[in-house]
């Protein structure tokens, strides 16, 4: 089984070993056209939604009756990136992820848990081809436990966290595009990582 660190490093490996040229002068390319054009600066908004899946095992051991786990959950990403006139970009990311949920199987002892997260990330990004961008994020996840068992509990915990993503963006106008993104997310206090697939809407908000 791959560890989280190994996956992060392999992700970096793919990024670093990717083709070194970006076709920046394509007039239709709304997202990556700053690269190699001196003096082009953009602020680009990425907004996406999709499904997140936490792949590892969940729930405490020693539960006699076991648990039912729900693994596919909605997720949303909101990312604001500064695209300067070189390949490396900087930005911030937030959003919402339901990580996992489970309920006790015992019909006489009903209870359910939902763990969700709000990422608070600083992102670095790079265009690796004309349409493909990679992202790496470090920061925190505001984790929220929603427990429903003999009363309801909402409990928060701030966890160190990481993310990495790769997306493909197809321009639809000079300032907007749509795309797809695959993201790896890891909040350390959940021990294991999850992956999401999202549909993106990209908007070049500012240009100067």
């Amino acid at each position: 089984m791959f560890s989280n660190k190994k996956i992060a490093i392999l992700f970096c490996l793919i990024v670093l070993a990717a083709p070194g040229r970006v076709h920046a002068q394509d007039a239709k390319d709304t997202i990556n056209d700053n690269v190699k054009v001196k003096g082009n600066y953009f602020v680009v908004l990425y907004a996406g939604g999709g499904l997140f899946s936490y792949l590892a095992s969940v729930g405490p051991s020693g539960n006699a009756t076991g648990i039912d786990i729900t693994r596919l959950h909605p997720t949303g990403t909101f990312r604001l990136m500064w695209h300067p006139d070189h390949r490396l970009r900087l930005g911030i990311e937030s959003g919402f992820q339901e990580l996992y949920a489970y309920r006790l199987k015992d019909p006489a002892d009903k209870g359910k848990v939902l763990l969700s997260a709000i990422p608070l990330m600083v992102d670095w990004s790079m265009a690796v081809t004309k349409r493909i961008n990679v992202f790496a994020g470090i920061g925190a996840y505001l984790l929220t436990t929603r427990l429903d068992y003999n009363g309801k509990v909402y409990s928060n915990y701030l966890s160190l966290g990481f993310s990495a993503a790769v997306n493909y963006v197809q321009p639809i106008t000079r300032r907007t595009g749509i795309g797809v993104e695959i993201k790896w997310a890891d909040a350390t206090q959940t021990r294991d990582f999850g992956v999401s697939g999202e549909i993106l809407w990209v908007w070049k908000m500012l240009k100067w």
Binding site: S3, K5, K6, I9, L10, C12, L13, L16, A17, A56, S57, V58, G59, P60, S61, G62, Y100, A101, Y102, L104, D109, G111, V113, L114, L115, L143, T145, L147, Y149, N150, G151, V153, S155, N156, Y157, S159, T188, Q189, T190, R191, D192
Partner: protein
């Protein structure tokens, strides 16, 4: 070419950057001779006959030149299990074995562990009939020539043991009365990769095996006010298995924690009542330090449990001290708010004067204050004992025992305190 070089470097990093440590107790139940042996059924004095300081004649490169040998027991309902412990002076190592008789020999089967690392392995030891088992079995509690030799083998991990170990009785264990070896967090920390979780009932049962005569336990409160054993302020992965429940302990009721949260080795978070019950009825521990982590919380429920279990201990004829911890001023104020605080045994960390002012019988300075013998003498003059905490460095344990006049040392490694204490002359 550059891309391939990067790939190579990253692959090297990916395969080397994470190492997970563990020290699982080896399965030592495959010694046919031991399995076919008969239970010891010894008297307390027979067990004590084997206790002492031994000189190592084989195995000293790992375990040092001398060891301290001690028996302890746990009582699990109708059954009592005795453990033979060897506390070593090197590598914070120890052996924990169970005993049986076979053909006149005493067989000691178990494992060893180095606490300054993760090394562990199976240990198969024997006291042969002609090397002490004979007079131990016959019940001679004070033989004129106490010539006991323990021989055997130890191994690494799950491998069959092949390395030689032997040690010979030298002298009795040092006994200064009173001195207490206290184990932190119910017996040991999760970071030391013990087979049971810190602040669990299972850990309390193991404390004496590892040399502890008493324990410090960390106390927090659930949302519905149940005092439980838990160190950190939050439910987290350091102390618990992944459950989806995170955040402050006091956000959850005891029923919720009990249904959804398990400590890292699968135990439930114990209540203080369960812990005191285990200490009183399942171990021979003589001291419990209730370290209240919520310093501004009312201490009424803890005081009630303290009174209940001191009365139960007295009724059972057990010598057991249970003290309320007073680490800081807010906790002192809560202690003084107890209607019967003058009668409540306590341990005050603030200062000797503060301890005297609240009629605490115990003062607990942090070890970083140094060997404060003047303050210890002042405490003793007030009739107050001095418990220094928390010393984990073997050289410091030795120094504090040799130069200090403390009445107790609290440590995450009670085995090393036991070693340096018992080998004194």
């Amino acid at each position: 070419m550059r891309s391939y070089l990067i790939i190579l470097i990253m692959l090297v990093l990916a395969s080397s950057c994470k190492k997970e440590y563990s020290a699982p107790v080896p399965d030592f139940n495959n010694w046919p001779e031991f399995n076919s042996g008969s239970p010891l059924h010894f008297s307390a004095s027979q067990y004590r006959t084997m206790e002492g300081v031994y000189d190592i004649t084989a195995g000293n490169t790992i375990f040092g030149e001398t060891v301290a040998v001690k028996w302890s027991y746990v009582n699990t309902g109708t059954d009592t299990t005795f453990h033979f412990s060897i506390f070593c002076g090197k590598n914070i190592a120890y052996f924990i074995c169970e005993g049986k008789k076979s053909n006149g020999d005493l067989l000691l089967n178990g494992y060893w562990r180095k606490m300054d690392g993760v090394e562990t392995g199976i240990a198969r030891l024997t006291i042969k009939a002609a090397q002490g088992a004979g007079f131990i079995s016959s019940g001679q509690s004070n033989p004129t020539a106490k010539a006991i030799t323990i021989t055997g083998v130890f191994g690494t991990g799950q491998a069959l043991p092949t390395s030689s170990f032997s040690c010979t009785y030298n002298r009795p264990l040092f006994q200064k009365t009173p001195f207490l070896i206290l184990a932190n967090r119910g017996g040991g920390r999760n970071s030391d990769l013990l087979p049971v979780s810190e602040n669990s009932v299972a850990m309390l049962r193991k404390t004496a095996e590892m040399g502890g005569q008493g324990v410090e336990i960390d106390i927090r409160y659930t949302k519905d006010g149940v005092p439980v054993l838990y160190h950190d302020a939050t439910i987290n992965l350091r102390e618990t298995q992944k459950s989806g429940l995170l955040g402050p302990v006091e956000n959850y009721t005891y029923a919720q924690l009990s249904a959804f949260v398990r400590l890292i080795h699968g135990e439930k978070i114990p209540t203080v009542k369960e812990a005191l019950d285990a200490v009183l009825y399942q171990t021979d521990l003589s001291f419990v330090w209730l370290d209240n982590k919520v310093t501004d919380a009312p201490q009424v429920s803890l005081r009630a449990l303290q009174k209940e279990y001191l009365a139960k201990a007295a009724a059972a004829g057990r010598h057991l001290e249970i003290v309320l911890g007073i680490p800081v001023e807010p906790a002192k104020q809560q202690f003084l708010a107890l209607p019967d605080h003058a009668d409540a045994p306590s341990i005050c960390e603030i200062s000797v004067d503060e301890a005297a002012g609240i009629n605490a019988a115990n003062w607990a300075p942090r070890f970083t204050l140094g060997i404060v013998n003047d303050d210890v003498a002042k405490a003793h003059n007030e009739g107050i004992r001095a418990f220094v905490w928390t010393i984990d460095v073997p050289e410091l344990v030795q120094q504090y025992l040799k130069e200090g006049h403390f009445d107790s040392i609290l440590s995450d490694y009670p085995s090393i305190v036991a070693y340096y204490y018992y080998v004194q002359q």
